[in-house]
């Protein structure tokens, strides 16, 4: 038996040499010092940026600006009101903003209701969804599970839709990241998970358990559009609250957004792009013809219509951390995109 496990040699290692212990102490000290210095530096940089940031032009007449056609958004200018919902008049969108007291990752306003998805950053970050009234006072809390992704209200404010990422761990599980989209009547009562609606593709029901639904946009009291996915395919679906159905209209449409006149849908098109990349496009619902918009960069947002001719979307600012701008581009594919509101995210046009 040549290869049998040998009996153990004495378990004691050579005594550690003093020199090695000294070197280790030096390395550890260097690590602690470097890490501490960097953390303090990073904190100071942020504090300085906040202090020296061109003081954000704000206005105090929140009520007045909310009374005229306005834009509600998440303020991402570093400083005191970072992350708070803000309001500007549509006549002066990049002008002074009225800050609200509500911190929202995602915000949307319709009629006299506002939906605010917020994060409570403690040791474990948890998220919540609140319905607010005209004065930004909480009306009710909605259950919210996972990372906030999208929020929409129907035009008359009867229904609210939220989409969140419910994540698995990062082990090798296909389908580990799933979305949860819930539609809730704002007046009260429980929400319904859209995955429980019947998904109908080409007249046949898809009952696969990996169905996912996200990105709701409301049409009228009962009808809405959204994205449904199963086995790697995404569809634009037309949903009915009463019939509890989702009917597929066509493939490869994510995060639809219905135009004010109800004729077109702005959406994210994946096409043949690399994973995690999308182009912004508009689909004509009557002809089912799609038009790619002038924005060449990848867009990961649910678009919002400024009016029947222009589409808004948020875009993280290159080279900056945690700051983004709201851009505008013509809905017919012409022209070049430009920044509409600096330091902003999650726009909502209220007329």
């Amino acid at each position: 038996m040549t290869d049998a496990p040998s009996e153990l040699e004495p378990a004691e290692p050579r005594p550690m040499s003093r020199r090695r212990v000294v070197v280790l102490a030096l390395v550890l000290t260097a690590c602690v010092a470097a890490a501490t210095a960097y953390v303090i530096h990073a904190r100071n940089v942020r504090l300085t940026v906040e202090r020296t940031a061109p003081s954000l032009a704000t206005r105090d007449d929140l009520e007045a600006v909310s009374a005229v056609p306005h834009l509600v958004f998440r303020n991402t200018a570093l400083g005191d009101g970072y992350g708070h919902a803000a309001v500007v008049a549509l006549t002066d969108v990049d002008g002074p903003r009225a800050l609200t007291g509500s911190a929202c990752e995602r915000v949307y306003q319709r009629s006299d209701r506002t939906i605010c998805l917020s994060a409570e950053r403690k040791l474990v970050t948890t998220y919540r969804a609140q319905l607010l009234d005209r004065q930004w006072r909480p009306v009710r809390d909605l259950p919210l599970v996972g990372l906030p992704s999208r929020a929409r209200l129907s035009a008359d404010g009867t229904f609210v839709a939220t989409t969140t990422f419910v994540s698995g761990d990062s082990y090798a599980q296909p389908g580990q990241f799933s979305t949860r989209t819930v539609v809730t009547p704002t007046a009260g009562g429980g929400g319904v998970d859209l995955e429980q609606f019947r998904l109908i593709v080409d007249g046949r029901q898809v009952s696969a358990a990996d169905r996912n639904v996200w990105g709701v946009t409301f049409a009228d009291g009962d009808t809405f559009y959204a994205t449904a996915a199963s086995s790697g395919t995404t569809w634009l679906v037309r949903g009915s609250m009463a019939a509890r159905t989702l009917t597929a209209l066509r493939e490869d449409v994510e995060c639809p957004s219905l135009s004010p006149d109800g004729t077109r849908i702005a959406f994210k098109k994946h096409g043949t792009l690399p994973p995690g990349k999308w182009r912004l496009a508009v689909l004509d619902l009557a002809t089912m013809r799609e038009t790619l918009l002038g924005e060449q960069r990848s867009v990961d947002d649910q678009a919002e219509w400024l009016d029947n001719g222009n589409v808004l979307y948020g875009m993280p600012r290159t080279g900056a951390v945690a700051t983004s701008d709201v851009w505008v581009t013509p809905a017919d594919g012409s022209g070049t995109p430009r920044v509409l509101v600096h330091d902003a995210w999650s726009p909502s046009v209220v007329r």
Partner: protein, 418 residues
């Protein structure tokens, strides 16, 4: 040829006092793993948010690609094991693996695109694959046979402490430096460097075979050893059980699926599992030393059966979730450290790292296949039925695994004499 498989240390004649103290090498390797896990879990905890919110990458895309890297990492494991055996320098192979992972942390700073972030994450997984088997070989070499299970338990417990501290440290840092992902990467790098320094400077680079004179280890020789029944059978048993094991991710999703509470406090689910693992790693390792590692390894699967039953059962709420997490931690405590303890005891010394790597690779690859299969089952027959099926398959596989591990032999259960 006679291959002795001394799985029951009770049959060995070792001085009673031997296993009293945990060898300093084991504790030091535990500290290295602790620091490395603090480092890697700091990053892992914030990675989904960082990728989606800061870099604007699609989270769905990340999840799919990550699966492929896991497969690559499994194959690198075999290479790490073989290199450690071939050159009889497990410490330096392990140090290379730890260093690659450490460097990947700092490489996250300039990485801003999907491709570069993917490359960095791959490098981290490759480093992990490279170091695992050589490190476990060093633990085995520094442990008396009657304390192998206990010593692996000590190592895994320290490792788990790191995995628990990591996310807390990351979220604590984010409170101190708003959106300070760069600060997280730098601190994570510093902690990883400290881990590498402890390994390189303090852990003795024991060369198991040096005193036996030069004897070349060839790939063919290692393969022959791996093919011997003594090694082949436990590797096959571990692989077989891996095939019917569904991933944690699915279990966590299953718990979240019917319970908003579990979903809201999702990050805490890992902590729950870790606490159970941490508490039980040493006691179950000791138990394995006393009654046989194969028995504890197979018994641990029963905890997994219980997890499936709880996750598919009618009960929901906090209590159910806690019970499921505790059982999952028990399963890990009874298997994760016990498997290398078992394999290192039956493998010949010249091929020990390769044998440990083979067993761990079998587990990882089998689980990967199981994940694909379970994902498909979940889609087609629904979560509850899929869980029941997994439960049934595991119960069928258990006796087969027990037979492969020689549990059917009474008396001296793990003696194989052709």
């Amino acid at each position: 040829m006679y291959v002795s498989v001394r799985d029951r240390p009770g049959t060995d004649t070792t001085p009673a006092g031997r296993r009293g103290r945990v060898a300093s090498t084991v504790v030091l390797l535990g500290v290295v793993s602790l620091l490395t896990d603090v480092s890697s879990e700091m990053v892992n905890a914030v990675l989904p948010i960082y990728l989606t919110k800061v870099l604007g990458l699609g989270i769905l895309a990340y999840g799919v690609v990550d699966g492929i890297y896991q497969g690559v990492s499994a194959l690198v494991r075999v290479v790490g094991g073989y290199l450690a055996d071939r050159y009889d320098h497990p410490k330096w192979v392990a140090a290379a693996g730890y260093s690659v992972s450490a460097l990947s942390r700092i490489a996250l700073l300039p990485a801003h695109g999907f491709a570069s972030v993917s490359a960095v994450i791959t490098a981290d997984r490759l480093g992990k694959g490279l170091r695992t088997a050589p490190r476990d070989t060093m633990i085995a070499a520094a442990s008396p046979p009657d304390a192998l299970g206990r010593n692996f338990g000590v190592h895994r417990a320290l490792d788990t402490v790191g995995a628990t501290i990591g996310p807390l440290a990351a979220f604590g840092l984010l409170l101190f430096v708003a959106d300070g992902y760069d600060a997280i990467f730098v601190v994570s790098f510093a902690v990883a460097v400290a881990g590498v320094a402890v390994l390189v400077l303090l852990v003795p680079g024991r060369r198991a075979r040096r005193r036996q004179g030069p004897r070349t280890v060839t790939a063919r020789g290692v393969l022959r050893q791996l093919a011997s029944p003594a090694v082949r059978r436990p590797v096959a048993a571990a692989g077989l059980l891996g095939l019917v094991t569904i991933g944690d991710g699915f279990l966590y999703l299953a718990l979240q699926d019917r319970d908003n509470l579990a979903a809201r406090y999702f990050p805490l689910l890992y902590v729950g599992t870790n606490i159970a693992y941490l508490a039980l790693a040493v006691p179950l390792g000791r138990l394995a030393d006393r009654i046989g590692r194969a028995r504890v390894f197979v018994g641990g699967q029963l905890a997994l059966v219980a997890v499936y039953l709880v996750a598919s059962g009618p009960l929901s709420g906090l209590g159910t979730t806690v019970v499921a997490l505790a059982l999952l931690g028990t399963y890990y405590a009874a298997t994760d450290g016990v498997l290398p303890a078992l394999v290192s005891r039956v493998a010949p010394e010249t091929g020990r790292a390769s044998a440990i790597a083979a067993a761990q690779t079998a587990v990882v690859l089998a689980r990967f296949v199981a994940s694909l299969g379970f994902g498909w089952l979940w889609m087609t027959i629904g979560l509850q039925h899929a869980l029941w099926l997994a439960c049934g398959l595991l119960l069928v596989a258990l006796p087969a695994a027990g037979w492969l591990l020689g549990l059917h032999r009474r008396g001296t259960p793990a003696r194989v004499a052709p």
